[in-house]
Amino acid sequence: MSILSLHNISKSFGDEVVLNNISLDVAAGSFITLLGPSGCGKTTLLRIIAGLERPDLGEIHAKKMTFVNVARNVFLPPQKRKLGFVFQDYGLWPHMTVAENVAFPLKMAKASPQDVKKRVGEVLDAVRLAQHADKLPEKLSGGQKQRVSIARALAAKPDLILFDEPLSNLDANLREDLGRDIQVLSKQLGLTCINVTHDRREAQILSDQIALMKDGVIHQLGQPHDLFRNPRDVWAARFLDVGNILPVGIIQIDVPEHFVMVPRKAFRLVEADQGLSATATNCMFIEDRFEVTADLQGHEVKLFSNQPIGQEQSIGLKVDLADILPLSHGAC
């Protein structure tokens, strides 16, 4: 069952078209990420869903209410949409304690003082911050601040929680940890979430569905593994950084497309005089193997190796044809 559906949403700022006729359904209990480079319109779309911006055209319907219907001049202000929102810069009120921050949405919903107290305790437990309840936000670390922000978004049990690059202000390790926490929490509580990010890794960790956005439209929509294994075109493959993109001629296969995507693991190292001949330009040990950069007939390619390869060393490459993906040039 879809909990939120967007129909033909468009938005321009002056002459610049930011969103162009976007439609999207969000299923209950799913975690969907709007992924794309800066300027693709993903943040604007999120703010339109939240009611912080108004679309020029289109409709948004939630389970029991209409958020927006431009044609009918319907606009529900953000305070009536019963959403949760987690901001990139946390958006915590510096003059309120952690508990007061979290209690705010409950008080706005006119919950009784006992209920407020109980619920604040519950959500702070859920984000493991109960012992910090009486501190001011400035006393907390970045990760803790973002947990408070999440707790606040959860407090009033909204149907839908919106995340605006929730991890991008955090250190790398913290990002991973908090990302997993959010993922686990969302599944435990059965939350429906929409997330916005430009970070592939963040999208992979959190999402059931990814909507890849480009120039104000949804370029490709799918589950993470599907998206990363089958990028729609050269642009998507480049942005998702899924492997080496080469002209068809170099691999010598017969497909109508002009380009192929060759995943790093699809290259196999062979003796220098066999397969495609290439020259190693760089070699680094990453995680549990070497990542080699090589020059293949004027194209830079990346591949994995179990042994270190010296610089300027000539190598031979064989391609595992089962793994490669022909790519249309797309719109770029």
């Binding site: 009536k80 958006g91 009120w93 003059h95 949405p105 706005m108």
Partner: protein, 549 residues
């Protein structure tokens, strides 16, 4: 429903407080008989005045004076600001507090004090045996006096920028081997330039609008400026009100153009120093550096603040003016008279304090609503509000007074504040509104939008956002701006003289009457009392602000 209501409230308030008097002035300049409710002889005052040679000379003089004062003030302020950025926190705060004091000395009184010090047979000559008479009554002398009064404005702005830049980029440059001086010229100076120019423009505007110093010093060497020319049109017959409006209009235009420049520049530098939350960690100064700081800051403080203040204080204790600096001329008579004589002096103090307190409270309240409407609600028409809210920056007190009379002294009003103390309050609101608006809007722009958004999404409406989120966060800066309004209101002279209803006197008006009767010392004594009272309140405000942080 709240948004249109807020918009309506702030625009109608601004239209009444600012729009009406400005419109009246504009109409008066075009229709010289509008004060008799007649549209006869349109433009008959405007054109001859614009072609008047004296007016062109005065305009040119005003511009030359304002440019020079701005330049000298910048030369004094920038090195100080640069040093200030390197101070430990407490020392810096003390220096800042010291340089707030010049604001408390009315420019009119300040110039009189300089005369008493430096002229022939002045205090300096009576003690040290030499005078600076020739310097004092020259263009350079006047520029120096005004620059010493106004440089703190540039100092405060650039010091805050320097401290942010220094922390962010100065170390980077030093890592790459830059010399301190090179770092200054290559890194700090260019980055502080927009802030410097923008605060310089404020100094420029204040100089162009200043009346006291050009009137007192400039008259001695024949240096008419626009404001003194306006005053001359009022001072003896034939009184030329339409001519004065034309001059006011020119003044408004110059100041407005300068203010636009300031706005543009400050927008630019706000983006360069948007992240002010970095905390200062300075190594303690070496003993030698400490001595240098004490010498430079102490010396400048002594000259810019200490000398005039001391002169005012000494004058307050002098029995007769011609008695000079002599023990037998020492007396408490003038100070005593202040609090006995018909109770006039005391009544004036109470009137001023009450009016200033109301002005502070109301300007801050109005500014909060207006700033929220302009900065946060992006409704059509807020540009017009923004325009109205900065307009008073460019209106001289005399023009406001005439505008208010023309507006409110009409028989068609059922109730009018005219001829009650409320007209003074209205004038102060108009003249002071830019201070809290500027301070609060800068502060609001630095609060992340996400704080508001988070509250809206949590279910809050506009009113709740203002009351629960913004007011608590902006409270310290509002308080500070309120105290500034308070301090400046207690010394407002020109509009108070023109508008004081029969039987009501403010401190500045009282001082003016004392001078008018040749009782310079009584005037100085009253000024001293006012400086002490408003200085005390300002200090209290700073302390409260500090305590709240």
């Amino acid at each position: 429903m709240l948004r249109p209501a807020l918009f309506l409230l702030s625009s109608s308030t601004l239209i009444v407080i600012v729009g009406f008097p400005v419109l009246a002035i504009l109409l008066f300049a075009i229709f010289p008989h509008i004060n008799e409710l007649s549209l006869a002889a349109p433009l008959s005052a405007l054109l001859p005045n614009l072609a008047n040679e004296k007016l062109i000379e005065a305009t040119f003089n005003s511009l030359r004076l304002a440019l020079s004062v701005t330049l000298v003030a910048a030369i004094i302020a920038v090195p100080l600001a640069y040093m200030r950025a390197r101070f430990p926190d407490r020392l810096g705060k003390i220096c800042d507090a010291m340089f707030l004091i010049p604001f408390l000395i009315p420019p009119y009184i300040g110039s009189l004090a300089w005369m008493q010090l430096l002229q022939r047979n002045g205090f300096v000559e009576q003690i040290l045996g030499f005078n600076l008479n020739t310097f004092l009554y020259s263009f350079s002398g006047m520029v120096t006096v005004m620059a010493l009064h106004l440089f703190p404005l540039i100092y405060f702005t650039t010091a805050s920028v320097f401290s942010v830049i220094g922390r962010k980029y100065g170390d980077v440059a030093k890592v790459f081997g830059g010399h301190t001086i090179t770092v200054f010229w290559q890194i700090n100076f260019p980055m502080a330039l927009p802030a410097l120019l923008s605060s310089g423009l404020i100094v420029f505007i204040l100089t162009i609008e200043e009346f006291g110093t050009p009137e007192i010093l400039g008259a001695r060497f024949g240096f008419p400026v626009i404001v003194t020319s306006i005053h001359e049109k009022f001072s003896d017959w034939p009184i030329d009100l339409p001519g004065a409006s034309v001059l006011s209009l020119i003044l408004i235009i110059i100041a407005f153009v300068a203010y636009q420049g300031h706005q543009r520049l400050s927008k630019r530098f706000q983006t360069t120093i948007d992240n002010q939350s970095v905390e200062a960690k300075h190594p303690p100064l070496s003993p030698w550096a400490m001595v240098g700081v004490v010498v430079v800051f102490g010396g400048l403080f002594g000259i810019a603040v200490g000398l005039p203040l001391l002169t005012i204080a000494i004058s307050s204790f002098m029995d007769t003016l011609s008695g000079g600096l002599a023990w037998d001329n020492l007396s408490l008579r003038t100070l005593r008279e202040l609090f006995i004589l018909d109770g006039d002096g005391w009544a004036a103090i109470m009137t001023s304090l009450t009016l200033a307190a109301f002005a502070a409270i109301f300007t801050v309240m109005i500014a909060t609503v207006v700033v929220f409407t302009v900065v946060r609600l992006r409704i059509k028409g807020t540009g017009f509000l923004d325009f109205l809210s900065i307009l008073p920056n460019s209106i001289p007190g005399m023009a406001v007074a005439v505008g208010l009379i023309l507006t409110w002294n009409q028989s068609f009003w059922v109730v009018t504040p005219y001829n009650t103390p409320f007209i003074l309050l209205l004038a102060y609101l108009c003249l002071m509104l830019p201070y809290p608006i500027r301070m609060i809007s800068t502060a609001l722009k630095q609060l992340p939008q996400s704080l508001d958004d988070a509250a809206y999404i949590s279910g809050a409406n506009d009113l709740t956002v203002i009351l629960k989120i913004l007011v608590p966060l902006l409270w310290p800066i509002s308080l500070a701006s309120g105290f500034i309004v308070f301090a400046i209101s207690t010394r407002e002279l020109v509009s108070s003289i023109m508008l004081a209803p029969p039987g009501v006197e403010t401190v500045a008006v009282y001082v003016f009457h004392q001078f008018d009767q040749g009782s310079v010392n009584s005037g100085m004594a009253m000024s001293l009392v006012t400086i002490i009272i408003s200085g005390g309140l300002l200090a209290l405000g700073q302390r409260l602000k500090g305590a709240m942080k």
